[in-house]
Subunit: 404 residues, 2 copies
């Protein structure tokens, strides 16, 4: 056996980690900030609510005026004014007085509670209140949600709908986020063609074009897609161009561990190859290099191998550029079948997880894209484990955990 | 107590379900189809692979020529040709002959296996093979992944990267998907202003604008944002316009259960109010109506209530329009604190779930957006449950399960 020198997955990940860097930031409109990554802490400009306000449509009153009253014995009050949302009232409430008030409107002076409309009956300016209120009831006090100057969100967060809401409430219509990495994907291979009905002998449809583009999108980055034949000079030129216009480069194909390996040779000429060949399956011929500080991930041409390599080596790196700490989440499941493995190799077995069971999808070769389509998870077998018996516990990574 | 008639969450969901409809479909480029919903089954135009091809860089041989050979006793063969990817060879292999072959290239006549380059040593046209191969080894056979005419994906699927790959392999550069629903969101309230440092008395920042926009985006729909003061005629006009240009309409504010309720009145004038008032907390004043067959979801003005109402009533409806069957996934967790609740009301308590424990975030009122920001889940308390004791099991809906 004349194998090239392979390294372990852990060693490869550690080597690659040295080249991670976070991107610069940009200010964008809060309107477009959903799922972007916050690049600076958000300090509130305001108390929220900015004043004591009514939490309900109803009547602002003195709670004391209702003590001891109930549905069968309502309190009698007089309505002296009304306040809509966005309005203020200049009146001050005295005992037995009420002001009709809309949700969100400022509580008038003298009042300390709001009785919900549903607990009242009104005739002209006379109001019956069929409940005993406690002071503060249905009042949202100034600053009770957020205090002025308080940090409401920390940087590094992937912004969810409610996060955008609190940033707005803090007073900001713009927000500083990490730039989306531009990732150029160069698919290589003379045999590759676009999807067509009319396939000629020796031609293969370039499915990686679509898979890699969306994998990059799934990592919140912006893909730029390039295709290139198996010509070293051409590939070298495409890589050079990509290096100058991208934050990271991904190639597919041309990485088999052999002498005439066009992509790895090109990267070696232009920069430095750091990793070439990892003890994982599928995906052994994975390569990683650096050219002018720009990382180049060299993936297999085989769709399944390329996907696994992306999930193992690229995904967390691209997320890290945006300051997102992401690690595959492993859950424990029971193997529905015996799963063979080999010592010294980390295996990613496509599998279907249902409740507590995981069913490995046995396929030969790494070209079988069907196994990725039919599966919802990987069974992860560490290199020091020789295989998993039927009924034994094993580690599973759900594809759903790739959603950020 | 003079309460309006409230209905249960289940009853409301059932009433709303009657008005669901799926949208028309459109053909889009496969390049842009990530996360879109497939609207027709995909039948492959091709066998995949389209011919017997090499799964490795190496040498195509007759497996029989290697029987009994090994690392210490390699077989001797003669190299008679080479085939790159995208090429064909016209030679036919006889015993003791080999053809150098690239990954993905068609297997030449006479060969039935490929030996990986790593297991060979080559001098001129002489080849040493240091392994015993089995027939079929490292060959991907025609149609082994996909058979021509086979259905490779069924409609209704949210397209993942690997799904795009198999659609390409099946021969399609375009794909039929469900249209994205256009959802007009009308925020109402005279008091609402854009985020600003300079907040006047009685003004509130319209955080719902940002939250609702991104909630709609999170449901794979296209939001159109409109704001409107609390004037019934104005609101009525905005709703009328939205009905004509949208697949669904969402309003916020103006739904409190009282007589002067501008939004509900407007919907009632223009069409039919089906639901107004549901026994949930937060979110009781939720309303649902239909105008010219277009659904109108009337949410609270309060950010937290509006989010809960979206999650409970709107999310699954908008997804269903795209033929996505989505239900909140409930998981069992242990309550870290006692959680009070009231019989006859379904509660959605913002909570932080960590491992097996869930910590309720106790807040008063539904205006406290902070509770949504600090939480990662809802504790779900059914209407026939009075509360949950510390240490008891309870049902939790993780926000992560909203990701589609």
């Amino acid at each position: 056996m004349f194998l090239s020198e392979l390294i372990s997955m852990k060693k490869a990940l550690n080597l690659i980690k040295n080249y991670s860097k976070s991107l610069r930031t940009e200010n964008i409109s809060l309107e477009t900030a959903f799922s972007r990554v916050l690049a600076a802490d958000i300090k509130s400009m305001h108390d929220s609510p900015p004043f004591d306000r009514s939490a309900m449509d109803g009547y602002a009153i003195k709670a004391e005026d209702t003590f001891g009253y109930s549905e069968t014995n309502p309190a009698d009050l007089i309505i002296i004014d009304q306040i809509g949302a966005g309005e203020e009232s200049s009146v001050e409430i005295n005992n037995s007085e009420a002001v009709k008030i809309a949700t969100g409107a400022p509580i008038p002076k003298g009042a300390n509670a709001v009785v919900m409309e549903e607990y009242t009956r009104c005739k002209g300016d006379k109001l019956e209140v069929a409940a005993t209120l406690t002071p503060g009831e249905n009042v949202s006090f100034k600053g009770e949600d957020i205090k002025k100057g308080e940090i409401v969100l920390k940087k590094g967060r992937i912004l969810r709908p409610q996060d955008l809401g609190i940033i707005a409430s803090a007073g900001y219509a713009e927000v500083e986020v990490f730039k989306k990495p531009v990732v150029t994907v160069i698919t290589t291979g003379n045999e590759l063609v676009k999807p067509t009905y009319d396939l000629q002998m020796a031609q293969i449809i370039n499915s990686n074009h679509y898979t890699l583009k969306s994998l990059v999108e799934s990592t919140l980055a912006t893909p730029k897609m390039v295709h290139c034949g198996d010509d070293q000079k051409l590939i070298s030129n495409k890589i050079k161009k990509a290096i100058n216009t991208s934050d990271a480069v991904i190639t597919t194909g041309g990485t088999a561990i052999s002498k005439g390996d066009v992509v790895v040779d090109a990267v070696n000429d232009l920069g430095q190859v750091i990793v070439h060949g990892v003890t994982i399956r599928p995906g052994k011929p994975f390569g990683f290099g650096v050219i002018n500080e720009t990382p180049v991930f060299m993936l297999s041409g085989y769709p399944v191998a390329a996907m696994v390599q992306y999930d193992v080596f690229v995904r967390s790196f691209i997320l890290k550029m945006q300051n997102i700490s992401w690690k595959p989440q492993k859950v424990k499941k029971i193997a529905a079948k015996k799963i063979p493995s080999t010592l010294g190799r980390t295996d990613f077995i496509r599998a279907k997880t249902e409740n507590k069971l995981v069913h490995p999808i046995m396929t030969k070769g790494s070209g079988v894209i069907r196994s990725m389509v039919d599966s919802n998870s990987y069974i992860f077998i560490e290199e020091n484990v020789e295989g998993i018996n039927q009924g034994a516990e094993c580690e599973v990574i759900l594809y759903d955990s790739f959603k950020v």
